[in-house]
């Protein structure tokens, strides 16, 4: 019932976004049918294009889960992009530094990415829980730190530069590679890992005592405290898990697709996760569908670009519109919630 209604609302929002997009397309002198045809073809027309959609959905699913698990604890993880970068880099580092037997090596690399991502979540979580620092700001700042740090690592002159001109590391050992799921595409086993992780997140949130406590903290801190929940520890846990999820996403992306860390590996997957998590109404299973929608938009956009029927900028406007329309209702709720929290927070400090 509720699911159907939510899906209906989302369908309507997507159509609205596309409708407004169509008007803008026409107004800027481009062919509406051609653009929309390429958009659909780019995402779904054959196995390879659909694989492209799935490939792009994979990291978005990770970052959506990252956003929503923090959100369920009443926290905002705005720094998934940086966690993705730092996780990706250290996965690659473990991939070209260690020599280990095949499966083990891969697992170690994934764990490395997850762990460093987790560290990147732990810091803002700790600052929030123990020092009251606003995680909205700290995750964002740490995100830039991660991006700039990894960029410097791999740029010419940096300690881990391994390309010729390109800013990237050397290639990881083949034992660390996440195999392709479909020959001839870039789709890797990362997708299946993402699905399994989504299920695990669902199980954690709704079927374990810790998940219960995490949700209670997000709903009403004071009531959770009354119910014997250690609020500070739970907030830290939520942020660590958020970092782990995004870091794992970065690792899967690097090990499965690029096979070496390169600075251009994310067109903003971390940011897409915010939209994804909100579209999913912070539900892990909803996030699977949200990520598919976002992946399709990204893949379709690439199709329009390739076909040359409209410039890249217009494609991005189209993507942005759809996301905006889908997220808008949730965004209003979110802003309200945030303002409320700031008010309560200010009160506690005065």
């Amino acid at each position: 019932m509720r699911l159907l209604r939510e899906l209906g609302i989302i369908g309507l929002s997507v159509s609205l976004g596309l409708g407004v997009g169509a008007i803008i397309t026409a107004a800027t002198g481009h062919s509406v049918p051609a653009v929309f045809r390429e958009l659909a073809l780019g995402a779904f027309s054959d196995v390879y294009r659909f694989a492209n959609t799935l490939m792009r959905a994979t990291p978005i699913l990770f970052t959506s889960l990252s956003f929503l698990i923090a959100f369920r604890a009443g926290l905002f993880n705005i720094g998934a992009e940086g966690q993705l970068f730092i996780g990706g880099f250290f996965a690659a580092w473990a991939g070209f530094t260690f020599s280990l037997p095949p499966v083990l090596h891969l697992v170690v690399c994934l764990l490395f990415g997850a762990a460093v991502g987790g560290l990147w979540g732990f810091i803002p979580g700790w600052l929030r829980a123990r020092r009251g620092a606003n995680e909205f700001v700290t995750t964002m700042m740490l995100s830039y730190v991660a991006i700039l740090l990894t960029q410097w690592f791999v740029s010419p002159g940096g300690p881990f530069h391994g390309g010729r001109m390109a800013a990237r590391t050397v290639r990881i050992e083949s034992t660390a590679e996440l195999p392709r799921l479909l020959a001839g595409t870039q789709l890797s086993w990362g997708l299946l890992i993402a699905f399994i992780v989504a299920l695990l997140v669902w199980y954690f949130l709704f079927r374990t005592p810790r998940g219960y406590e995490l949700r209670a903290v997000g709903q009403r801190e004071t009531a959770a405290e009354y119910g014997g929940v250690n609020v500070a520890r739970t907030q830290i846990l939520a942020m660590v898990l958020a970092g782990v999820l995004a870091g794992l996403g970065g690792a899967a992306e690097i090990l499965g697709i690029h096979r070496g860390f390169t600075v251009g590996f994310s067109p903003g997957y971390g940011w897409d996760g915010i939209a994804g998590g909100l579209i999913a109404r912070a539900h892990p299973i909803g996030a699977v569908f949200a990520a598919l929608l976002m992946g399709a938009l990204r893949a379709g956009g690439a199709g329009v670009d390739r076909a040359g029927v409209a410039p890249r900028d217009l494609v991005e406007v189209l993507q942005g519109l759809v996301i905006l329309f889908v997220v808008a209702p949730e965004l209003f709720r979110l802003v309200g919630r945030w303002r409320l929290r700031r008010r309560a927070h200010g009160r506690a400090q005065s």
Binding site: R207, T208, P209, Y212, R215, R220, G228, N230, R343, A348
Partner: protein
């Protein structure tokens, strides 16, 4: 406005055949209600009878599934509170909705005046507040922050807010539930002043005596249906009670005098604590609760009881002093440790502490025990079945009115929310119970039930710290009685040996008599 003018203005509101259905419940099943200008109209009924829902329909918070509302004879559709306010309808909720950090004056206009233009004429606002407070005896300082006000003052602000926005019809949902008896009279004076001005008021209460005192007519609801409307001139408490529950009510609590063995269960020594604004709220409190004993703490809300209770239960750090449970020092222990040591806490604020409103009744039933078997399966699992089964058992035993245990706690009526908390906490077989305002918002049967439960716990040996502002409750239950005033405990009394008046005086800071 005199009698004649009042009647000329005639009927303010007529609700006809109001039906409101929620999934699994019909909260209102075809209710008619007529409200006149210059009338105080009581709305009575057991917990969950549909009082709040009916008034929420009038205030535009819910749309009725069926039925029609008329304002001064004209059919209207009230889609939102904004529409209601514009139509001259105001509501003071069971739980206040003020912004604590803002001043009284700012609270008047927030979300209202601010939406009518970018500039505020503060001088004019303040002048208008002054006028209204003088006219109706609603004394408050427009420039003090709401968080610094007592509950009684906050209530005055809520009423002022409604009046400021031009309310001619005023809905008051259990306004006296948070007021100490001594302030009720002043509150009634305000109500009478508003009635004489010709305002129409709906007054929801569980206290029949109050209804008979202040109301002109009362309407009784039962299980979503209207039982009838009667003028108070020829109604009695017994008659109203019978209308409410459908049978005669005998209200009598058996008090046996099982002697305490004098074993101290809860000892508090020199406890001091500060409130959320870091202002000292509890100053050097000593108290001891023994086995088989109920120690009552009387006091007007806002005299440090909240902070005292929280400091005892591990929800607030003590600045000074010790808490001992069963002879062991537990000062500063976490709420979870306290619970494991055998102390349960019935919090005064059910929305802030007692419940996670968006969680289901089942999820709320295990709050505080989420990590215990059989609800938790180690760290890695949760038994939905065990949780639901347990919740169903509690709902049954404490007669909580709820369509199912998967219903969110938010959807329960105020009294039924309180029952969920009581059921959960009392079922833990505690050694020590810290109960703050445990019967607030309960109907007569509910109060009786809770009193019996507390007495049964006492009989079995528990020590109970009962914080209440209801003197009748304290006089009935407590073995010993102390009064809390401005962070300190004053005097100790035995209910049999002191009279209510004397305690009431102490609550208001009257001279401490040495007895």
């Amino acid at each position: 406005m005199n009698e004649r003018e009042r009647s000329v203005r005639g009927e303010a509101v007529r609700m006809e055949g109001i039906v409101k259905r929620f999934p699994g419940v019909t909260a209102n099943a075809g209710i008619d209600l007529s409200l006149n200008y210059g009338e105080v109209h009581g709305l009575l009924g057991e917990n969950g009878a549909g009082k709040t829902v009916l008034m929420s329909v009038l205030y535009g918070l819910y749309r009725p599934s069926e039925g029609q509302i008329y304002l001064e004879g004209n059919p209207v559709s009230i889609d939102s509170p904004a529409v209601a306010i514009r139509a001259g309808i105001g509501m003071v909720h069971q739980h206040f909705m003020l912004v604590p950090r803002l001043t009284v004056a700012d609270n008047m206009v927030v979300g209202w005046e601010t939406s009518r233009g970018p500039f505020l004429d503060r001088k004019r606002i303040r002048k208008r507040i002054k006028e209204l407070s003088e006219q109706y005896g609603l004394e408050v300082d427009p420039d003090s922050a709401v968080e610094e006000l007592s509950v009684g003052e906050q209530q005055r602000v809520e009423i002022l807010k409604a009046l400021y926005r031009g309310a001619e019809v005023l809905i008051l949902d259990e306004p006296t539930a948070t007021l100490p008896e001594q302030e009720v009279e002043a509150f009634f004076t305000t109500i009478r002043a508003m009635r004489d001005e010709g305002k129409a008021m709906v007054f929801i209460t569980h206290k029949l005596r109050e209804a008979l005192t202040i109301c002109d007519r009362v309407t009784v609801l039962r299980k979503g249906e209207k039982v009838g409307t009667v003028p108070t001139t020829d109604a009695t408490e017994a008659q109203l009670a019978e209308m409410m529950v459908g049978r005669e009510v005998v209200f009598e609590v058996q008090r046996d005098r099982v002697a305490s063995e004098g074993r101290p269960l809860l000892q508090v020594e020199g406890l001091s604590a500060v409130d959320d604004r870091n202002v000292p709220a509890v100053e050097g409190v000593d108290l001891t609760v023994h086995d088989h004993e109920i120690l009552g703490v009387a006091g007007v809300q806002g005299n440090g009881q909240t902070e005292l209770v929280e400091a005892i239960c591990g929800l607030r750090s003590a600045v000074q002093g010790h808490v001992m449970l069963n002879g062991e020092a537990v000062t500063g222990s976490s709420p979870r440790k306290m619970a494991e040591a055998g102390l349960v806490h019935i919090p005064e604020d059910r929305h802030r502490r007692g419940l996670v409103l968006n969680f289901s009744v089942a999820e709320n039933a295990i709050l505080g025990r989420q990590y215990e078997a059989p609800f938790a399966i180690g760290h890695v699992g949760q038994s939905k079945r065990a949780i639901a089964g347990y919740a169903r058992e509690l709902v049954e035993r404490f007669s909580v009115v709820v369509p199912g245990v998967r219903t969110p706690a938010r959807a329960l009526s105020g009294g039924n929310q309180q029952r969920v908390i009581l059921a959960r906490e009392l079922d833990r077989k505690p050694k020590v119970i810290v109960a703050a305002q445990p019967t607030r918002g309960l109907d007569v049967a509910g109060i009786e039930f809770v009193w019996e439960q507390l007495l049964a716990m006492r009989r079995e040996g528990a020590g109970i710290l009962l914080v209440s502002m209801d003197l009748d409750e304290l006089m009935t239950l407590a073995d010993r009685l102390v009064v809390m005033y401005q962070g300190k405990l004053v005097g100790e009394h035995r209910p049999g040996e002191t009279d209510k008046q004397q305690i009431g005086l102490l609550m208001l800071g009257g001279a401490v008599e040495t007895s």
